[in-house]
Subunit: 156 residues, 2 copies
């Protein structure tokens, strides 16, 4: 992660502004999140840090994630499963997700029309819309042997 320092500076500024302490745990969590490239859940992050011999608790992970979400460095997703997934968001252009109903893989995409919908509906309903979440769910196209073109799994 080349811009990890930039991200830490932003987090530091946010904590300052909120009168929150700048603890080593918070920066360690931020660092480990920005080391990941994919979506992750709390348990995954917690274990990743345990394995690296960080001394952190789940409680602190949850607490820090809330802070990171509040300052926009992380986004939280509920992809229809029980467990929430998180994702770093600095330096990443806003994107949405397509979820495969066969293998649950997640694909990312962008479409500028979402911004238009957002602004149209904001005006109509009298809201300042500042965030959105669009998920598409679908079945993959398959080849003649019923194998998914993307993950090679054979579909029923």
């Amino acid at each position: 992660m080349e811009n990890i320092d930039e991200v830490k500076i932003l987090f530091r500024a946010f904590l300052d502004e909120k009168g929150q302490r700048k603890t080593p745990e918070r920066f360690a969590i931020l660092e480990q999140i920005y080391d990941l490239t994919d979506h992750f859940d709390v348990e995954f992050l917690f274990l990743k840090m345990k394995n690296k011999n960080y001394r952190v608790s789940r409680a602190t992970v949850y607490n820090t994630l809330d802070l990171l979400i509040e300052c926009g460095l992380v986004v939280k997703h509920q992809f229809g499963t029980l467990t929430a997934l998180y994702e770093k968001s600095y330096g990443y252009k806003q994107h949405d997700h397509l979820i495969c109903r066969k293998c649950n893989k997640i694909f990312e995409f962008c479409d500028p029309r979402i911004q238009q919908i957002q602004s149209t509906m904001g005006k109509l309903l009298k809201f300042k819309v500042e965030q959105h979440s669009l998920m598409l769910y679908g079945d993959p196209e398959v080849d003649i042997d019923s194998k998914c073109l993307r993950c090679q799994l054979t579909i029923n």
Copy 2:
């Protein structure tokens, strides 16, 4: 609910086709869901039925909801909270949701551009997209006394 009979016929046909039993509990749950006009969670539905002296268990509610979702009579939402919310979907045009970040009220809207995004991205990523979920999150416009124009709550 004027079209409850229609809905029951659809459910019956679906159960037939799947070789599933047509138990009174399943139809009672369907009936109670279609009696509701708003989003609801499992506990709310379960208690509503308990209060009306139906003899149902949470397990059956969950099981039946899965069936109703599968046949398209109910949709499930995860609005970023722990608890899933459900909603009847027959005779309702497909719509999406705007969630107020101040009071958590949910507003519904439609925008045909979502269908276009769905079909564009389906083609691009080689998926048959058959479902989507779009949520907009925002703050309400307020009057000069900082009172929300919609729910009259005073916003910090």
